[in-house]
Symmetry: C2
Subunit: 218 residues, 2 copies
DNA sequence: TATTTTTGAAAGTAATACTATCATCACTAA
DNA sequence: TTAGTGATGATAGTATTACTTTCAAAAATA
């Protein structure tokens, strides 16, 4: 994780880990705009200034959580593809991991991955939809997303070296892996996903796998 | 336009039109979070409560502006496809209109379409990425987006009645028509668009036309 | 001219996003 | 053992935001 994401590394101290744990719970519950450091401090029985010693502001905390998620996903994709040689298979597995339902990873006891996944779906676009996006990008706050996009675009390039838009297609894939689930939950007329009795994760995987492979097939 | 979008119709009065005109200018310049009704009132030499008589809050004003944009686009697509019989051609034209650079439409003198387009690219997702999305949706605040999605999905269905995900594909298309431009501007490693000397609108159109037609081709 | 509607001016409120100051406590180094 | 350092928490304060209330004046309408 880029050290620009925090003032003091929250994984290193008891208080830091508590901040991560409870902020995930509270952002999931309240939504990002109603979540405040004051409420967080009250809930963990600490003080507002203590939290500001870890994160410059709540936007940075959100960026940290989303970056954590993308790092975690990249690690899972690396793990799942490690003994796979064929790029078609690697790409397929990457799409599987992207679209899978997310459950508790026992390696990280202070992170509730299921709640974090809901935050990613509902809030992650807010990390970059700001006027300071260019400054934040220069500081390397979005490396997690960009690195995973690059990796999967690499598989696309191996499947079809002639395809002209691997990064654009993969950023589309990564966005839609989450946005289609949001639509299915809240604006269901925008998607077929969730309208049959097939489970939403499987259907989303089928939709995206089909779209990606047909688009790059030659 | 759904009358739930406003308290008093802003198109009907001098002050209302001024609110639309100057809010577009200010949201474009400041970004949505730094834009306030107080600043708007100062700039148009009116008073804060006067603006609250037109829009419940600044979120509703943003939703109104984005809805206006989708209505305008649907009108332009209807106009451009009116004498076209072949659904392939209709779909192609819809993608063209979606991805076109947007310039002043003299029919609407108080709306700066180029500035509004930048707002759509940078801020439109914030209309629904809120905890009240379900209430807002019930009130019909997102009908503009949904109606256009339905129309274009209808073309998709005519091109290939067997394709399983027309709405999901079209919502993907509509989102990416804007998000790829944002990436090209601010996170260029996520897309090929803007990396050659081909103009971004043309390249985005090619990327999306290719993706959509390959995906639904049978 | 009378009346209703729309607007603007002024002030107020609760909450937010911080910041500053300071005492305390745990840990470490001499 | 003691002195010093760094992390924490308690308290309070500031500027700004997102509204709301009240009221008088101006404009539109009947």
């Amino acid at each position: 994780m880029s050290s620009n994401l925090y003032l003091r590394d929250p994984q290193e101290t008891e208080l830091g880990r508590k901040i991560l744990e409870v902020s995930i719970e509270m952002i999931d519950e309240l939504g990002f705009e109603k979540f405040t450091f004051r409420k967080l401090a009250a809930k963990i029985e600490s003080a507002e200034p203590s939290i500001y010693r870890y994160f410059e502001n709540k936007h940075r905390l959100l960026v940290y959580l989303i970056a954590w998620y993308w790092n975690w996903l990249e690690y899972r994709i690396d793990f799942s593809t490690q003994n796979i040689a064929k790029p078609e298979k690697q790409l397929k597995i990457a799409i599987d991991v992207l679209t899978q339902k997310k459950e508790k990873d026992l390696l990280f006891p202070s992170i509730d991955e299921a709640a974090l996944y809901r935050i990613v779906i509902a809030e992650s676009d807010k990390t970059y939809l700001t006027k300071q996006v260019d400054d934040d990008n220069k500081e390397g706050l979005f490396l997690g997303f960009k690195s995973l996009c690059k990796k999967i675009a690499g598989y696309v390039r191996l499947v079809n070296p002639k395809y002209e838009f691997p990064h654009a297609l993969v950023s589309t894939l990564m966005q839609m892996a989450h946005q289609q689930l949001f639509f299915s939950d809240h604006l269901p007329s925008l998607t077929e996903i969730g309208t049959t009795n097939e489970n939403v994760y499987d259907m989303n995987r089928r939709f995206l796998t089909d779209m990606v492979f047909k688009t790059i097939d030659n």
